[in-house]
Symmetry: C3
Subunit: 260 residues, 3 copies
């Protein structure tokens, strides 16, 4: 049996995590949420990776969201839904809390739970023909507060309400205008553009990337900058990688960072 | 005497509330603020409506803001202004706190207090020739903090400062780029597009729409998700409307939600 | 020796503050940060100015950020960096806390610390060929939390992460779409457009402009509107300038505000 979530080491620096159920456009099931969550929980301890790419297998769809067919068994009342929700929310949290930069490579549909996963990544790059939306109102279901929070942080109240109340599916141009994706490229370039972006991320000092994520998340969680956070802002000056970066700048060479 | 705020039941699901002083482009007076507020306070108790449309009568203007002519009597010093402000702010709060989805149908001018009212709705749809702005600096007056808050939530600090410090009137294209409106359509299509949007909203499960509004507002008011809010996220699974939505999805029919 | 930060009184109402090291594209040094900070700290007490313009001398660059050449002496470890940081952060805070409206006039490069300074102004106007970015990851350095905070407030998490993780330099069109600048004009019009904007700001009641800044900042710092802030919202009605503005409105003349 093939893994419903596939992980592939692209090289020493980059891991690709794929939703792997292409025959169902990568519709998400409870085991997939669990597996995805456990992968990202493990990544928390990883000290060497510099970037994680999240994508859907098959080239036609990132994910259309949760597999509705599964609901009768796994999500047909609030008790079951809560059990399901614990995994779903835990997984979204694990993606958001991943200390390694994350990029969603979006081909085709990015809807419902698929959009939630993408919203929890640091960057989102999609193709021209990609489509977005959250048509959950048609099912009589809410997006849970924990899920809504990620969307709200990404696009604000006005766009969040438009997406949820109308439930429209919209195209990549509108997604870009709404701030959902960082970049739209021709469909055949999504993979290339994403991996060039990954390359740019990997070229940077890896501790710096992790610190920047940490700073942003702490600043969004609290209004005030703690002394501890403030001091963390100077740690980089004592790293080996700053010496490397600084010398490479003066000598106009490419820095070869050591992650320390 | 005609009502300065007109309410019209479009059908069992939709209420249209109109600023009705077209001979003055729907400039707002104290009695209008009071009436508008009392209508929206009543709507808080309404359990059956699925959408409220807010518009200006006459097709040429949503509203140019407060009627300055009235100021000598009603707003000429801080004491009077405070009394006026209580109504104005109470009305904005009542619109924001309306549990039913609200859509601003914007034709023509949407300026000052008019823009504040629109900013308190969930969605904003306007025509090509619509114009926006807050030229209050010319009057020597501030937008009160309670009013400024709605604008700040909609467009952030940078655009809010641009609008207030410059006091420019700008067109619909700029309003869209600034995130003030969700959609711009040709002038003759504003009504049609708005009511198609209303239809999409009404097609969804009504409790879900109300919950989504509640979730967003609680998430914006607090940083943390309370247990109570978290549990509310599973309530939908125990509704009749989820059963209806789920079956309609499997049978590929249109769900006929019952609001329970 | 010429001043590295030049101040020039344009007229009774407007002060222009220039980063003045055009031979280095206005790259920032520790003395420049200190001087810039002390100028803005002094401006806190100024009661008469109505607008401050911040720009870079030479017409080719706002600023490319900190002068890396200087780092060996002033910023080569966390202890030195902290000392440097106190000035840098104090200066950014002084610009943000300036009670007078501030406009960044951006020609050419606006990168790193240059972009941080611009982000702390109220408005940003740039030319077509301007370029933006924060390529600090290449140096092995983080943007400190205090600096990151200003960027985060301006453009949100998604764009902030894109800028910091990728470290790309991008053009004015992208900067506008990302919400970094309020307006892009042809290069030869940047000065003209900025000073027309300054004129519009100066035409408004000056106390009103200061109050609007204060309201926005307090609202962003706290979730709730205090009674004190609420009452401040009515102060304008007791000003002389409201009487002037009101009369000028009724007589359709241009108000000549007195700043009281």
């Amino acid at each position: 049996m093939t893994d419903l979530i596939q992980i592939k080491k692209i090289n020493e620096r980059v891991l690709e995590v794929s939703l792997n159920r292409p025959e169902k456009l990568n519709a998400l099931t409870k085991p997939m949420w669990k597996k995805l969550g456990s992968i990202f929980k493990d990544l928390k301890k990883n000290k060497t990776l510099r970037c994680v790419v999240l994508r859907g297998k098959g080239g036609k769809s990132f994910s259309p969201g949760n597999d509705i067919g599964e609901f009768a068994k796994t999500r047909s009342n609030s008790k079951l839904a809560k059990e399901y929700g614990v995994h779903l929310h835990g997984t979204l949290a694990a993606i958001q809390e991943c200390p390694i930069p994350t990029v969603a490579l979006i081909e085709g549909l990015c809807v419902g739970g698929g959009l939630e996963i993408a919203a929890c990544c640091d960057l989102r790059i999609c193709g021209n023909s990609s489509r977005f939306g959250v048509p959950i109102k048609r099912l009589g279901l809410t997006m849970a507060p924990r899920e809504l929070q990620a969307l709200l942080q990404l696009v604000g109240r006005s766009v969040t309400m438009e997406i949820l109340l109308e439930g429209r599916i919209f195209n990549s141009e509108e997604a870009y205008a709404k701030g959902i994706v960082n970049r739209v490229v021709p469909d055949h370039d999504v993979e290339k553009e994403t991996y060039q972006t990954v390359e740019r991320i990997c070229d940077g000092a890896p501790l710096v990337a992790r610190w920047h994520k940490q700073f942003a998340d702490e600043l969004l969680a609290k209004k005030k900058i703690s002394n501890k956070l403030n001091n963390l802002g100077y740690k980089c000056y004592d790293t080996k990688d700053f010496q490397i970066g600084y010398k490479s700048f003066l000598t106009k060479t490419k820095p070869n960072f050591k992650n320390k």
